[in-house]
Amino acid sequence: MTIKTYRQALHDTLREEMLRDESVFLMGEEIGVFEGSYKITAGLLTEFGEKRVRDTPIAEEGFTGAAIGAAMLGLRPVVEIMTINFSLLALDQIVNHAAKIYGMFGGQAKVPLVIRTPGGGGQQLGATHSQNIELYYAFVPGMKVVAPSTPADAKALLLAAIRDDDPVLFLENLALYNTKGDVPDDDTPAEIGKAKITREGHDLTLIGYSRMAYVARNIAEALAESEGLDIEVIDLMSLRPLDRATLVESVKKTHAAVVLEDDWLTYGIGAEIAASISDGAFDYLDAPVRRVAMAEVPMPYSKNLESAAMPTNDDVINAIFQTLEAVGRRLKKIGQSHD
């Protein structure tokens, strides 16, 4: 085990995979000379050269599609799209091509492609640069979408994604890059399609992914200390495939669930989770599944408004308390901040 930041874990994993496999190479805007907008690829151009660390023109559709084509011929490109917002420019290539090629041609061509891209918000980047639109990709059969929330999971899921023969959208998060944690030194990949119970409990199931899985863990720990609550926390890890069984089994035990998401509520990932829990644990629920999600506005620039649009810890705690009250529990404190 080594303590690393999420950023360092990504960097080191990319480097190790490039050393391990000659067919792994990187493409993206500003990943070489500039060392990456978020410095994930720092130093890799110097070490591996321009052939394997390819600075691209600002042409998401062109270079993402080129990565798909290269993958069809057996290379293992890892594309960086600077933020998930810009992936919209490559939507046709990802949805109509990467996700379709294996099935549409009767299994004749594989697309071993990884698209790394951070979501986020809260950096005062305004409406077009603060979105969390991983749902667009999680919606599409043929895609795999993973979203690690710790440095260790970032490593394990990136290993799995690079070694997988299908297109994988690897969701990072601007707010997680500097978070630290223990990272195993061995290279055991995670299993894509599996959620992880990161804290066991009996009072309520708190579900999140990416940044919101991190938030969920912290709040559950804080509430255990301050309120004596025993909250079970699930990190989805994989948005497609979705591990519904783990969610349902947890709710059968806790009888209540709160879903945290950084995307918009309407038609969002939380909606799918709530529906799945309803399908699999309807008779076990003692309160409606509650969702905490982004306010449904284009993200404002002004800090005051931006903060109001994003889920806060208080929002999460209130949702937990209200859900527990709906179940029938009496709680002492409501709305205390645990920042």
Partner: protein, 415 residues
């Protein structure tokens, strides 16, 4: 400006060609800024300026080049004819099968494009790759895919080249290096660029050819792909098959620069334009383009041809006047080549007819094979979800519940 009008703006004199149409239409222009052009630039001595229609000034001033005048190999001409005849009869059979509801969805035919198809495909090695669009049946046949498997794909059968998963627009065969028919206009361009990148990455001498229609030059992927290909000197030939119509919209109405090959100038890429009704001219131009790409200089080739029928089999093409249609029919490259073969005494009329009969029989056999082929079993619906098996992969049919539904009287809440 129709494709016909575009062709008539240029010419090069070619002696002794049998059809007046073909003689007046061998031309091509080299990109003025090309760094390294595979073929030498030859400015035609005379430009036939039949510019009675509104031809943009740019088109008039285009540098015109004569096609290379190699001695045409008689055996090659016969092979072209045989191949064109196969495509013709296969496509006619497809159109008929569509009306018999044996083929579903969209179905775009290569009728009128036969000379272009055989000319282009003759320039590729077996180890080269082809990415194309949804008008690809003829290309699939010329890559070596058996007509039976092409037809079975159209009929949605297990013996189809894409096992019944692709249909008319999505034929694919890794063995014959047909890397797809693609149904999204322009979708194949970034992919082809990436395939060329993989070839370059591995230091191989293979080439990727990527064909598209005239409408594709206006989509963003065209610009992004040509820019990347030129920037990284990738071994790829982009081919614009200009039949004058994107569905029912003329090139004039969709392209501010109607001469597609000129777009290459924006990328310092070599380019030329060739008459697509003569398979020999197409083949020669394609060889130049492929040689350039193999030497690390991507190439933009524009092939001007005709579309004999509507955009797809269900399109009656009412936007064309009877005069236009009559003109297009007169330009049909298949009888033109038959006439040439007879006139140049390469084949007798009987031999020409015999080839037709043989290729008609192959198309009929393909139909019989496809009819007899099984439809894919419903149990195979999830066979191609993922290449790498994954936990919690959904195999749910539309009416299935996510979790077993327990009758109310059996519910025991475990508390």
């Amino acid at each position: 400006m129709t494709a016909d009008a575009m062709r008539s703006t240029k010419a090069g004199a070619k002696p002794k060609a049998p059809s007046p149409r073909t003689t007046s239409r061998q031309k091509a222009a080299s990109a003025p800024v090309a760094k390294k052009v595979a073929a030498k630039k030859v400015v035609a001595k005379k430009v036939v300026a039949k510019e009675t229609v509104a031809t943009p000034p740019a088109a008039r001033k285009a540098p015109v080049r004569r096609a290379a005048t190699k001695k045409v190999d008689a055996a090659q001409l016969v092979q072209f004819y045989r191949d064109m005849m196969l495509i013709r009869r296969f496509e006619e059979r497809s159109a008929r099968a569509y009306t018999e509801a044996l083929i579903g969805g969209y179905c775009h035919l290569n009728l009128g494009e036969e000379a272009t198809v055989v000319g282009l495909m003759s320039a590729l090695r077996e180890t080269d790759y082809l990415f194309t669009n949804y008008r690809e049946h003829g290309y699939a046949l010329m890559r070596g895919i058996h007509p039976n498997h092409a037809m079975a794909e159209l009929y949605g059968r297990v013996d189809g080249v894409s096992k019944g998963w692709g249909g008319s627009m999505h034929m694919f065969d890794m063995t014959h290096r047909l890397l797809g028919g693609y149904g999204i206009v322009g979708g194949q361009l970034p992919l082809a660029t990436g395939a060329a990148l993989a070839i370059d990455y591995r230091g191989l001498d293979e080439v990727v050819m990527c064909t598209m229609g005239d409408g594709t030059v206006n989509i963003g992927a065209f610009h992004e792909s040509l820019n990347i290909a030129a920037l990284w000197k990738l071994p790829v030939v982009f081919v614009v098959i200009n039949n004058g119509l994107g569905m029912g919209t003329t090139v004039d109405k969709s392209s501010a620069e109607p001469e597609a090959y000129k777009r290459a100038a924006a990328y310092q890429m070599a380019s030329e334009r060739v008459d697509g009704l003569d398979p020999v001219l197409v083949a020669e131009a394609a060889q130049r383009a492929v040689a350039s790409a193999r030497a690390g200089q991507p190439f933009l080739l524009e092939v001007v041809c005709e579309r004999l029928r509507g955009h797809s089999v269900v399109d009656p093409a009412k936007y064309r006047s009877p005069e236009e249609v009559a003109k297009v029919v007169k330009l049909d490259p298949v009888p033109a080549l038959a006439n040439r073969l007879v006139k140049e005494k390469i084949l007798t009329a009987v031999q020409v007819r015999h080839i037709d009969e043989e290729e008609t029989a192959r198309a009929d056999a393909a139909d019989a094979f496809a009819r007899a082929s099984a439809v894919p079993d419903v149990s195979t619906l999830f066979d191609y979800n993922y290449a790498t098996p994954v936990a919690n992969d959904s195999r749910r049919r539309p009416g299935d519940p996510l979790f077993p539904v327990i009758p109310r009287y059996n519910v025991e809440v475990a508390r």
